[in-house]
Structures are given as C-alpha cells and as structure tokens.
C-alpha cells in the first residue's frame, strides 16, 4: 500500500510522529526513532545550562527526520510566539508544535491563547500544528486561521490512558479538512491502532515508547499498530451487529436428519 501523510504540502511515509523526551539516553532515543520509522520528531527549546553541558540531542537524529520544535512550557500566547520565533531564527524548521498550557496538573491546553498564538504564527509564516482539547468548534477555528493540522489529546500528556475523549475526536475527524493528529495520552499500541481505525491521519507518541521496558521494541510495536490501524481504516471496517452472524453455512449439516 502506498499510503502517505501530507501536512502543509510535505509528504511523510509514516503516520507515526514521536517525541524525543523521557528516554534514559540519547542512544536509546535514536534507536527508538529508527525503529518507529517516524519521519518527524518533536523537540523542546530550553536555555542552555552552562554548568551542565549535555550532548547535542540533534546529532543523534537522522538528517532526514524533520525536527518539530514545540512551545512546551508556554503558559500564554505571547510566550509561545516568542519561543517559536527564537527557534526559527536559530535555524530550526518553521514548523511549530503549538502548546499553550497553563495547567501543570493535567497539562490541558488553553484554547483561547492557543487560537490567538496560532493566528499570529500563521501570519508570521509558520506551519502551525496546535495541541488542543478535542473540540470540533475550536478545531474549525484553528483551521480557519490557517493551522496545518489539528492535534487533539486522547488523554492527559504522559497518562497512557488511551482514547478517553474518543467521541469528540471522532467528530473532529469527521469534520476536519486538515490532518487530525491524535497527540498525547496513548499508552499502548492498541490505543494507536484504535485512533487510526477511527480515521485519524496520524498519532504522536512519546511516553508510551520512552517509558516502555524496551523502548526500541515498543517503537516498532507502535509502528506496526499505526500501519495496521490505518490499513484497517482504509480497508473499511465491517458494521457491528447486535447478534451473532454464523460464519459457516447453516445448510447441509452432516448431522442433519
């Protein structure tokens, strides 16, 4: 199957996007990225700590993987815009995963500030991928200001709880004219497969891979799950029935009188 994902005119062979956070080492992160087959990874932007000089994360990533800087840590639109502009000026791609999160307990995004930041960043030439609560009305507004995707959370970041907000995501998928990327809260490969079977265009996974006992194997498991879920969606999933439907002929039984 020649199935590709297109975001803002750029084509990806993988519908899995991964985060680079929470790995025990950059080597494991790199191996997991390779095993996942993903072609886009998120990175955060932070001040350099001159007293604790770590290695450069980006040197561990394959050159053909698109870096998607995020605005994590921003609590307002202004902060997010500032981070995005700094990242782009310094040579990172002009793609931005927009996160405006004022709530440290559940890490739920601020819809008003997210929309405000998105409008500013699109105007400024960025390709904007906003993290959001699955709200079909907000999704439409984000599309209207020019966002390249909408990225609803399945459950709170890092919770691994799966598609808790399934029904709202389903409406977004039905209505969206830009790719829907289910981002955050997926804990197992089956969660990712379920999102893809629902018709999501892609999923973004970090903790579920990074915190697995074997992150590299889990990265591969997510890759397969995303492919399987997408293929199932494309193949057309059967209608459910209330009662059993026999799979074997009911006529011609050997034991019939």
């Amino acid at each position: 199957m020649n199935d590709t994902l297109t975001i803002a005119g750029r084509t990806f062979g993988s519908r899995l996007i991964t985060g680079t956070g929470k790995y025990e080492s950059f080597e494991t992160m790199r191996d997991a990225v390779l095993a996942s087959g993903c072609e886009m990874v998120t990175v955060a932007v932070r001040r350099i700590d001159f007293d604790a000089r770590d290695e450069d994360l980006t040197t561990f990533l394959p050159d053909d993987v698109l870096l998607l800087p995020n605005t994590a840590g921003s609590e307002t639109a202004d902060e997010a815009v500032r981070v995005a502009r700094l990242a782009r000026a310094g040579g990172l791609p002009d793609w931005i995963k927009l996160e405006v999160i004022p709530d440290p307990r559940y890490l739920l995004p601020d819809p008003v500030e997210t929309l405000r930041a998105a409008a500013t960043l699109v105007e400024d030439g960025f390709t904007v991928l906003p993290y959001m609560l699955p709200d079909p009305v907000l999704a439409r507004k984000l599309e209207e200001v020019g966002c390249a995707t909408v990225m609803p959370l399945a459950a709170p970041i890092g919770s691994g709880r799966g598609l808790k907000l399934r029904d709202s995501i389903r409406i977004m998928i039905e209505q969206a004219e830009v790719p829907v990327v289910v981002d955050a809260g997926l804990g197992s490969p089956s969660h990712a497969a379920e999102a893809m079977e629902m018709g999501a265009d892609a999923v973004l996974v970090n903790t579920a891979i990074a915190h697995a006992d074997d992150p590299v194997a889990m990265a591969r498991a997510f890759r397969l799950a995303v492919e399987a879920g997408r293929l199932g969606y494309e193949a057309g999933i059967m209608d459910e029935a209330e009662t059993a439907q026999p799979s074997s002929p009911v006529a011609g039984l050997v034991t019939q009188p």
């Binding site: 680079t20 350099i48 700590d49 770590d54 994360l57 310094g90 970041i157």
Partner: protein
C-alpha cells in the same frame, strides 16, 4: 568593564564581540544555538555580524529532548 548578561550570567565582552564570537567563546559548537537579544530573536545568518553592546540581555537556547 563592558559586560552583558547571557542566560542571567554576567559575560565580559571583547571589543567588537559578535554573536558568533560569543557562541565560540562559550564553546557552543553544537548544531543549533538559538539566540535572543534584548527580547528579539537573532537570525542565525547574522550571527557573524551582530555586535553585542554593553548591557545587552542575551538568552542562548537550543533544542532539547521533549514531546
């Protein structure tokens, strides 16, 4: 003494020190060093040309692991 601050730390400036020279002096040879000067992002292509001035407030950042 002519100084600026970099990530909140005082930095003594050489005469005519540019952003590129600053990064070099700080040993920042990685692939990305993102620089904000007095609240405005500095374009990477202009690092060799932008001269720092006394009292400048600089933030130097980079991509790190994140989701």
């Amino acid at each position: 003494m002519t100084t600026c601050t970099v990530n909140g730390r005082e930095h003594e400036l050489e005469r005519g020190e540019t952003v590129a020279r600053l990064l070099d002096r700080l040993g920042l040879t990685g692939r990305y060093a993102l620089v904000e000067r007095n609240g405005e992002p500095v374009q990477r292509a202009s690092y060799p040309e932008v001269e720092l001035e006394r009292g400048d407030t600089l933030i130097v950042a980079r991509p790190v692991a994140g989701g």
